[in-house]
């Protein structure tokens, strides 16, 4: 009697194994031998940013933000549609290069990622967005601020930062109202990001009655700005605005000081990094202002906890966009939960309907995929450190608006006001 019983159990287990194997197609077959464990599906999230090159520190920051989100989600044992989900990061290096970005995008599509967080540079996000759109994979850029990015009509493109169409005018209004600048010289680095920001700034500045006394261009590889700065010096502007990133902004501010230019200097988020202060030198950097989409890191609703968690995990400070990278992943997971599926085709419509309370504040998208409530913070270098100066809401006027995003915002603007006045004096 022993033999048939053995045969029966063998058959039974075989059938069970087969059934289990049929029930779940996505995961690797070895899982099939444990039929009683809940099904685990692996979902890959792509992270694309420059991991090498002059902007690597910013790109790695984004990747680390994504990694942290994925680790948190895995630790929380997320279940989607009744199945346990394990998330995996697929990080790719786009070298801040538009051509490389499209290669990377194709690579991520081929790796069957469910969603992509990326890219950093507008010049990279824009060409890559077509590839993700064709594959139907949702893309959230944590940092690309060129307005064109969401204007291609793709259903798959989103971003969790205010765009230059919001950032440029805010800078201009700040320059006109708070700094009282009458004349301004505008420089950009001839990239999609830099030129976009500078153009938007220029348009609003003109409409506010500021005089643009010089419009100069450099490149994102140059380090010698003496000639254009000399020309600008001759026009005696109250303010110099630069659309570009820190490897240029740093040396430029240093050379400005060498030339004895007294004008104030303001730029966008690309230069609001600790690296900028190092490149410019503390003395030259003092009083330089830059805007960042979003709230100050430590004033984000989930900021403090996030900064500590990030520091504990990677043993380094948050550079810039790690919180945005983190939230981008969480927005995807949130959409997957609501859709009850990890299939991009199913959860993509839910991404657009996001109403999520993230580290950076409430996240909701308009019909183009742009962040609905995008507060912008203006920072100033004081004593070798970036300090928040003023928080501005893009829709409102330059009056420091207490954003709905953070209860601490009004408190932050109050002590910042004397700082603004002080900076204006310089």
């Amino acid at each position: 009697m022993h033999k048939p019983a053995l045969r029966h159990t063998l058959i039974a287990s075989l059938v069970a194994a087969l059934l289990a194997a049929c029930g779940q197609e996505a995961p690797p077959p070895p899982k099939a031998e444990a039929p009683k464990a809940p099904e685990v599906i692996t979902v890959k999230i792509g992270a694309a940013s420059p991991l090498t090159g002059p902007q690597a520190h910013i790109g790695i920051d984004i990747r680390n933000g994504v990694q942290l989100a994925i680790d948190d989600a895995n630790a929380a044992n997320v279940e989607i549609g009744g199945k346990k989900v394990k998330f995996e990061i697929v990080a790719e290096d786009d070298e801040a290069n538009p051509t490389k970005a499209t290669t990377v995008a194709q690579k991520l599509v081929d790796a069957k990622v469910a969603a992509v967080v990326g890219h950093f540079n507008s010049g990279a996000s824009i060409p890559a967005s077509k590839i993700y759109a064709d594959a139907g994979i949702p893309q959230i850029s944590p940092a690309s601020t060129n307005p064109d990015y969401t204007l291609k009509g793709y259903k798959t493109t989103f971003r969790v930062v205010a765009h230059d169409g919001q950032q440029g005018p805010v800078l201009a209004r700040f320059a006109a109202k708070t700094l009282g600048a009458k004349t301004v010289a505008v420089i950009d680095d001839s990239t999609a990001y830099g030129q976009g920001l500078a153009d938007n700034f220029e348009a609003t500045a003109k409409s506010l009655g500021m005089k643009v006394v010089a419009r100069e261009h450099t490149t994102d590889k140059d380090t010698d700005f003496k000639a254009i700065l000399t020309k600008i010096k001759g026009r005696k502007p109250d303010l110099i605005m630069f659309g570009g990133i820190d490897p240029q902004a740093g040396p430029m501010v240093k050379q400005m000081k060498d030339l004895g230019i007294k004008a104030k200097y303001i730029g966008g988020d690309g230069m609001q990094t600790p690296n900028f202060i190092k490149l410019a030198g503390e003395a030259a950097a003092e009083g330089v202002m830059a805007s960042i989409p979003g709230l100050p890191k430590d004033q984000m609703p989930g900021g403090k906890a996030f900064l500590e968690k990030f520091k504990a995990k990677f043993n380094q400070e948050v550079e810039l966009f790690a919180p945005m990278g983190y939230d981008a992943v969480m927005v995807f997971i949130d959409a997957m939960k609501r859709a009850g599926s990890t299939d991009p085709a199913k959860f993509l419509p839910e991404v657009g309907k996001t109403n999520y309370q993230g580290v950076i504040g409430p996240i909701a998208f308009d019909d183009k995929g742009d962040l609905k409530v995008g507060p912008i913070t203006i920072y100033v270098v004081k004593g070798g450190k970036w300090e928040p100066l003023e928080i501005v809401k893009p829709e409102g006027d330059a009056a420091p608006a207490a954003t709905a995003a953070a209860g601490s915002a009004p408190a932050a603007t109050a002590p910042a006001a004397p700082a603004a006045a002080e900076a204006a004096k310089k």
């Binding site: 520190h57 380090t223 000639a227 040396p251 030339l259 004895g260 030198g281």
Partner: protein
């Protein structure tokens, strides 16, 4: 007027750095007829070595002048050895090969140096720690910093010394003999190998000084900085007449001033159609024009013996 003076100062300082690097191109070309495309990257290595030394010593609280001397010394030492070994390993075996072979080798060495540097120093921009606090001198409303002045004076000093050395010293005479005809020079008792090796060492050492100057002037360095600098310096050498040491000096200064003036005035001259980011077009346009009128460059001997 003060703006014009300022642009002139900017251009002359930039140009003196170009001229120093151009010397390395022109000396090697004069003697070997080889365009040493790795020279810009030797300058880059010099810059990064100097930067590393400054970083290490400035943190330890060593006084600034001593830091500069040590940084310069280390850069010169490393670059001289580098130049010497590149010549020995990469160019000497190819001396009798068709001219295309050493040219391609030079490009190969250039890429090798870039990516070795990327491995050692990484691909990020490296910032110079706070070392000097240059004071500004007012010249008719234009600002000249003491650092700019030091760079310009030192560069001119090195160039004058080199010109004198080639003209008056025994080694200089051997260099000129080798330039005219290496085989005959050999027959006359000149050790051609030594002369060529010496040329590489001197060129690389001057390149190292230029690298240090770039680091001090702009405050940053990275692994790819030698490429554009080398290209500009090469252009300067051709503009002045490649193979001619005086020509390299003239070409370098001229190119610096042209670039500076172009960035300053091109926007106004073209009514805003061309911005200052087109300044390189202007510099190369001048090069083309000069070469059309005088193919051997400004100071080059027409129908020269080897060029």
């Amino acid at each position: 007027m003060e703006i014009f003076t300022q642009q002139l100062i900017n251009g002359l300082v930039l140009g003196s750095i170009y001229a120093l690097v151009a010397l390395g191109y022109t000396m090697v070309y004069g003697i070997l007829g080889l365009i040493n495309f790795a020279h810009g990257d030797i300058t880059m290595v010099g810059a990064l070595v100097a930067l590393t030394v400054v970083q290490a010593l400035a943190a330890a609280g060593v006084p600034a002048p001593l830091v500069l001397v040590l940084a310069g010394g280390c850069a010169i030492l490393v670059c001289s050895l580098l130049g010497l070994s590149i010549e020995r390993v990469a160019y000497r075996p190819l001396r009798r090969a068709p001219r295309l072979a050493p040219l391609i080798t030079a490009i190969g060495i250039s890429i090798l140096l870039q990516y070795t540097a990327a491995l050692i120093w990484g691909k990020q921009y490296i910032a110079l720690p706070k070392l000097l606090e240059p004071a500004a001198i007012d010249i008719a409303g234009a600002q000249l910093t003491t650092l700019q002045l030091a760079i310009f004076v030192l560069a001119c000093g090195i160039m004058a010394l080199l010109l004198w050395f080639i003209k008056a010293s025994r080694m200089g005479r051997a260099m000129r003999a080798t330039e005219q005809n290496p085989d005959v020079a050999g027959l006359m008792g000149v050790n051609v190998d030594t002369v060529i090796a010496f040329t590489f060492v001197v060129g690389s050492a001057i390149g190292a000084v230029a690298g240090l100057m770039v680091v001090l002037y702009y405050g940053i360095g990275h692994y790819f900085m030698g490429f554009m600098l080398g290209l500009k310096a090469f252009t300067a050498a051709v503009l002045g007449g490649i193979g001619n040491v005086g020509g390299a000096v003239l070409g370098g200064l001229l190119l610096g001033v042209i670039e500076s003036m172009a960035s300053g005035y091109i926007g106004d001259l073209t009514g805003g159609v061309l911005g200052s980011n087109y300044r390189d077009i202007f510099a190369f346009l001048v090069l083309v024009l000069v070469l059309v009128v005088k193919p051997s460059g400004l100071l080059g001997q027409s129908g020269g013996d080897r060029a």
